[in-house]
């Protein structure tokens, strides 16, 4: 079972709350995904308002609420948002997003590290969203992040795991969970990430803008499970040449 900062998760699929056509569809899709952790943009919700369109449909007993700092341009803004989350009952868990370029929404590694160091000191459980940079992942681990969230491809692009070779290194080196986040556009993409040994994936856009978000959520849940089982079962190695049918061909000289 997946454990992050001492908390256990049966599902290795994490959900998001953006881009859905209605709060009700979002609620149904999250239920169909079986996810137990859901990220919510602090800019989108009014945590102090029980009638808030997103908060009223999110059952806090069912989902671990993972506020995110989407929109923050630097460490200072991200830290202020984290404080807002804490004083409004958002808890200690935080998906740290620092994205100074409003166009690509790619994360700023320097500001992300700075904010992580500060927020860890303040007692937050920080899950930073990062480009798939193995050294940055290690630096964040050393700084006390409880997981790292490298991107598969730029957010919302549905392009899958384009950062494959860096993510393989991150997975090989990390002692904290690795959650592949962003750019996963199809169930086959998340199956790929899970087969590689990712501990979990986060999917939002691909479910929210699907023709039928509820069925798509289920498809992603199945793919996450399939990928994980395949990883645990041990995938056969990929060969460039055909494997010899008789494994000892060419070894007839041996006595």
């Amino acid at each position: 079972m997946l454990t992050i900062a001492g908390r256990k998760f049966r599902s290795r699929l994490f959900g998001g709350t953006g881009k859905f056509s209605s709060p009700e569809i979002m609620q149904e899709a999250l239920a169909a995904s079986g996810c137990e952790m859901v990220t919510v943009a602090l800019r989108r919700v009014d945590l102090n308002n029980p009638a808030d369109d997103i908060m009223r449909v999110l059952d806090r007993n069912r989902y671990l609420f993972l506020p995110n700092t989407s929109g923050a341009r630097d460490a200072g803004e991200a830290i202020r948002l984290a404080h807002l989350a804490r004083v409004s009952g958002g808890g200690e868990w935080l998906k740290l997003e620092v994205t100074p370029d409003p166009r690509t929404l790619l994360p700023d590694p320097i500001e992300t590290l700075k904010a992580t160091e500060e927020l860890v000191r303040e007692g937050f459980k920080v899950l930073p969203y990062i480009n798939a940079d193995p050294i940055l992942a290690l630096r964040l681990q050393d700084a006390g992040a409880v997981a790292v969230m490298p991107l598969g491809s730029p957010i919302g692009t549905n392009q899958g795991v384009l950062t494959r070779f860096q993510i393989e290194i991150i997975i090989a080196q990390a002692q904290i969970p690795v959650i592949v986040d962003a750019g996963l556009g199809a169930p086959s993409h998340v199956a790929e990430a899970m087969e590689m040994g990712a501990d979990a994936v986060l999917v939002n856009t691909a479910i929210a803008v699907a023709g039928d978000p509820v069925r798509m959520a289920r498809a992603f849940a199945m793919a996450v499970e399939a990928g994980r089982i395949a990883y645990e079962a041990g995938l056969g190695a990929v060969n460039k040449d055909a494997a010899p049918s008789s494994p000892e061909d060419g070894l007839g000289f041996l006595r």
């Binding site: 953006g18 881009k19 859905f20 056509s21 209605s22 709060p23 602090l42 800019r43 989108r44 919700v45 009014d46 369109d53 929109g71 923050a72 341009r73 200072g76 803004e77 202020r80 948002l81 404080h83 807002l84 100074p100 370029d101 409003p102 166009r103 919302g156 692009t157 549905n158 856009t205 929210a208 803008v209």
Partner: protein
């Protein structure tokens, strides 16, 4: 500094676009300015349906099935400019008014009670009546009650924008009105606005001051809309290159009858307007696109999901007009007088989520003015 090519050169680039170039732009991930010219061309009109589909796919991918809602709050109708097309023009004999802080707060609270979280503060250009001090003070008074405050007022200096940002203003809209220098000169008869280049440089000052977002736009009906579209694309691309941290939005105000009864010089049809919107969306997948209540319900509802991402609702264009029915001179007549609830229902009916809050005052550390800690 951003330099705009001759308007006629823009028109030529558009008019020589071929159908093959239109198709290439439609199948490219990065159509660029050449592609934009093709998408704005008469040759692209035959493919309007394909433009709409492409625009819708890009919009949904980037923004999801959502539309953001906001309301304008008119603060003052005093204006030192004589602009041929505007209801607030200095030579129009309308009843003029500038709201006191108490009046502005009371108007804001009416919008708050109606459910708005994003406000656009608007005024004519009369710095003596309504200057930076006023805007700063008002922003400090309103910021904790609203998710986002933006302004559409006279052009300001970089350090003035920086002050307003610290007071809680998030975004600034400043429309060139027309990128055709000659037409600009003809319709801006007197006042500080007659200075074409100062206005053209304003979005860069907004970005340099650290604002989150700058809004650009052209007032449709003054000059060739196709060339305005290409000029907007050039301005947008220039701003992206020089100020990569700044979000950008584009508005498409189309001239409607105002007090001065100005007739559009070159009418722009709904088909034209839709082509312009689709073309800019395909050109720049990330730009915020506004569709205001200048347009009629049928058109606004039809455009939901096809490109625009931000709608106003229940707008009143005279200062004090939310609290008082006949508040005096309007800037323009609205085409869609439906309430926030009605517009939200129309958005939901089309399978989109009307979003009222998509920002938070916490992003900006509070500084400036006398209320600062």
């Amino acid at each position: 500094m951003f330099v705009i090519p001759e308007f006629s050169a823009l028109q030529e680039a558009i008019n020589r676009a071929t159908e093959a170039e239109v198709l290439r732009a439609l199948s490219s991930d990065h159509p660029g300015l050449t592609g934009l010219a093709a998408l704005l061309s008469p040759a692209a009109e035959l493919h309007l349906g394909t433009l709409a589909k492409r625009s819708a796919v890009i919009t949904s991918q980037r923004f999801g099935r959502t539309i953001q809602l906001y309301a304008p709050l008119y603060l003052s109708s005093f204006c030192a400019n004589r602009c041929a097309y505007c209801g607030f023009s200095a030579d129009n004999t309308i009843e003029r008014r500038a709201l006191t802080f108490a009046e502005a707060e009371s108007e804001a609270m009416i919008l708050h009670q109606r459910g708005f979280s994003h406000l656009l503060l608007v005024s004519g250009e009369a710095p003596a009546k309504l200057g930076v001090d006023y805007l700063e003070e008002l922003a400090l008074r309103l910021r904790d009650r609203f998710a986002a405050l933006s302004i559409e007022v006279q052009p300001l200096a970089t350090e003035e924008y920086a002050r307003l940002f610290r007071a809680g203003i998030t975004a600034v809209a400043v429309y060139q009105e027309t990128y055709d220098r000659e037409v600009y000169r003809q319709v801006h008869l007197a006042g500080p606005k007659a200075e074409f280049d100062y206005r053209l440089e304003t979005p860069a000052r907004v970005a340099a001051a650290g604002m989150r977002e700058v809004g650009i736009g052209a007032l449709l009906g003054l000059a060739d809309w196709r060339a305005e579209g290409l000029a907007l694309g050039q301005h947008l691309a220039w701003l992206r290159r020089h100020y990569w941290r700044t979000g950008i939005s584009v508005s498409f105000p189309r001239l409607r009858p105002a007090q001065g009864e100005f007739k559009p010089l070159l009418p722009v049809s709904e088909r034209n307007l839709s082509q312009l919107i689709f073309a800019l969306r395909i050109f720049d997948p990330d730009v915020g696109l506004y569709l205001s209540t200048r347009e009629e319900p049928r058109f606004r509802d039809g455009m939901i999901g096809l490109g625009p991402t931000r709608y106003s609702a229940g707008s009143c264009t005279s200062p004090g007009g939310y609290g008082q029915a006949n508040a005096g001179g309007k800037q323009f007549e609205v085409g869609d007088s439906r309430s926030l609830a009605e517009v939200s229902a129309a958005i939901q009916e089309r399978g989109f989520d009307p979003i009222r809050k998509d920002w938070d005052p916490v992003f900006q550390a509070q500084q400036g003015g006398q209320q600062a800690a």
